[in-house]
């Protein structure tokens, strides 16, 4: 009888832990985080990009990264993807005869690969030692090598494949775009936007960049419009705020409106990203994954908080287990053993 009662009690204790795993998202639900209002970012317009890679060279320079060779002659930097030593790259989409720019069939297009600075970054949620930090004001996703243990969970977690590890070094670090945050205090903004000759990469507050992106989408393809280059001033920016940033204020010029897809990539993906993208070619075809508005960090943390929030569940289960184990272990100890 005792055995049976204990068995049932044990089932309850064990079952509680198992049941906890399937508790629906309720009080502990962690919503997808939103972009901070003053968050900084980039707007990349593939229809303006000419693929000159000036941004790639500038990124290498300001981040003091070495060139990477993939060609036989090691003459210049030729990375094929971002890596622990390449934080920004322009990739090319090619189809058929490649006659027309920004055409999906028989055309070609460009796409910038660099950190999207997610509103709710998977890497920040994954990192066990807070080495990936999202700045609460600027929203820049920054990396702290001194905290990092090199587990590469961030590399595995990022849906854009952005954090990369330096496998070639015994003391390798994670490498990723940090929006040139180390240059901000000197008044320099992201080097890629600074050097972009066509304004394809534009620096600014994500809120303003989003408005600019939507303005472009509302225009008629083929019409003429003015587009800014370098830094997009904030809406209603005061002169003293503008003075914080170096560089010419108005570098705008006239271009033909691209044949845009009606989609600002990054507006809603995973709760939104601070880097936004416009393209004429299907985003998945140019390497941008199709992501839901709910971030995977929110799903993961909801599970964790449901199970471990305030350590309530583990402590309750431990109490149950201790109670049951105490009875059973004592019973076990009292039995006469061969040696006694």
């Amino acid at each position: 009888m005792t055995t049976r009662r204990n068995f049932l009690r044990g089932c309850l204790a064990g079952g509680a832990a198992a049941a906890a795993a399937v508790v629906p998202e309720t009080a502990c639900a962690r919503d997808t985080l939103q972009r901070p209002p003053e968050g900084l970012g980039l707007l990349y317009d593939a229809t303006l990009c000419v693929g000159c890679q000036a941004c790639v060279a500038a990124c290498k320079q300001v981040n003091e990264n070495p060139p990477e060779f993939t060609a036989m002659e090691k003459l210049w930097d030729t990375p094929l993807d971002t890596s622990g030593h390449t934080f920004n790259l322009i990739k090319m989409y090619r189809n058929g005869t490649m006659e027309t720019k920004d055409a999906e069939q028989n055309g070609f297009s460009f796409m910038k690969t660099s950190c999207m600075h997610c509103a709710d970054p998977s890497c920040v949620s994954a990192c066990p030692v807070t080495a990936m930090i999202k700045d609460p004001v600027t929203g820049v996703v920054a990396y702290d090598a001194d905290a990092c243990i090199g587990c590469r969970y961030c590399v595995a977690a990022c849906p854009f494949g952005i954090p990369k590890y330096q496998y070639d070094s015994p003391t390798g670090k994670i490498g990723k775009c940090e929006l040139c945050r180390h240059r901000h205090e000197d008044g320099f903004y992201s080097a890629c936007a600074e050097v972009c000759p066509t304004g394809a990469t534009l620096f600014g507050r994500t809120e303003d960049l989003l408005a600019e992106a939507k303005r472009r989408l509302a225009l008629k393809a083929g019409d003429w419009t003015n587009v800014p280059r370098g830094r997009l001033p904030a809406k209603g920016e005061k002169p003293e705020d503008a003075a914080k940033w170096k560089g010419l204020l108005d570098q705008s010029y006239e271009v033909r409106v691209g044949n845009y897809l009606q989609h600002v990539y990054g507006e809603t993906e995973y709760g939104g990203t601070q880097v936004l993208k416009l393209s004429a070619v299907n985003f998945e075809k140019v390497g941008m994954p199709n992501l839901p508005p709910k971030s995977s960090a929110a799903t993961s943390e909801t599970i964790q908080h449901t199970l471990y929030g305030g350590l309530i569940m583990p402590i309750a289960v431990l109490a149950g287990l201790t109670f049951v184990a105490r009875r059973n272990v004592v019973a076990d100890d009292e039995t006469p053993k061969g040696g006694k």
Partner: protein, 386 residues
Amino acid sequence: MSSHQHAVPVPVGGKLFNAATFVCGVLVAIMIAILITRFLFGLGAVTNLNDGYPWGIWVVFDVVIGSAFACGGFSVAMLVYIFNKGEYHPLVRPALLASLMGYTLAGVGVIFDLGRYWNFWHILWPTYANPNSVMFEVAVCITAYVLVMWIEFSPVFLEKWGMKDAKKKLNKVLFFFIALGTLLPMMHQSSLGTMLVVMGSQINPLWQTPVLPLLYLLTAIVIGYGVVLFESCVASSAYRRQIEVHLLQPMAKIMLGTLAVYLVVRIGDLVMRGALSHAMSPSLEALVFWVEMILFMAPFALIGSTNARRNPARLFLAGVAIMLGGIFLRVNGFLIGYDTGPGWNYFPSIAEMLVTIGMFATEVLGYIIITRRFPVLPREDVSAAH
């Protein structure tokens, strides 16, 4: 109750140097040489790891699968102390020893894989800890569990060295460590599944679901019993001892029950999410999915009846099927069903495999030395008289 009159554990005895320990020693030496290269020249020098597959077999086999295989101690201790099935007591120590070796090495193995290993203590340091991170939870739990297991296992050493007072004192509080030793594996074995959740749609829908923690927990328990079946058969044949069929038969029945619960949850989840269509496509993912499912279903065919469960060969095969199923579930989720985009692929290098094999050899070596010199396995004549 007669069921509590179990055989007293005694050292097996015999020589420590033999063919088996020699082979293990050579494998361990090879592993050490590779690890020296790794620490001098970086992970890229010995592994095939890349940014598309930042985790290879050192994480997936040595830690994720290695720790699941080390769940024998947890599964049997839960049976004995939580469900009060005292008759299984002779299985506790051998299972606990295997768990101890498995987990300790999983913990050490992590260091080999960490790119900035000198900072490893950050994960346990409050100013660095990120409680939102699934890996943080796994790391803290595994560390705590390794300590708890050494405490649970310490009576073996105390007996050997005749420290009766210390053993008596420890016995008074042992129930708490046993409870903790049941809770901690529940926490981190489920979280090892949750680790995949943040990777989102990079994981094939066949292995990406919010019920991952439950799936990994249930399979860890089942694998625990499967490993005990496997180890009991291997230890019996290696040491020419009788197989404890009278214990393994009913334990295998409990294993099948847990396995049935797992299969219901697994299939129910796939149907509810509408993910089964991915299992019907002509792809590698679909193939390995079906291999995984068949392995988890095989034990019902192998040891479905009581008679079949009295057959040591069938028990052994069922144990192997469960262990392989557990390998497939984890490799499928972490490697085969993981896709970061075109252009990336991974297959472990010879050096990576030799390190994993070396870790396994270390475990076997430790198991042999401890069972030959310390009271772990039940005394043969008493066991035979049962």
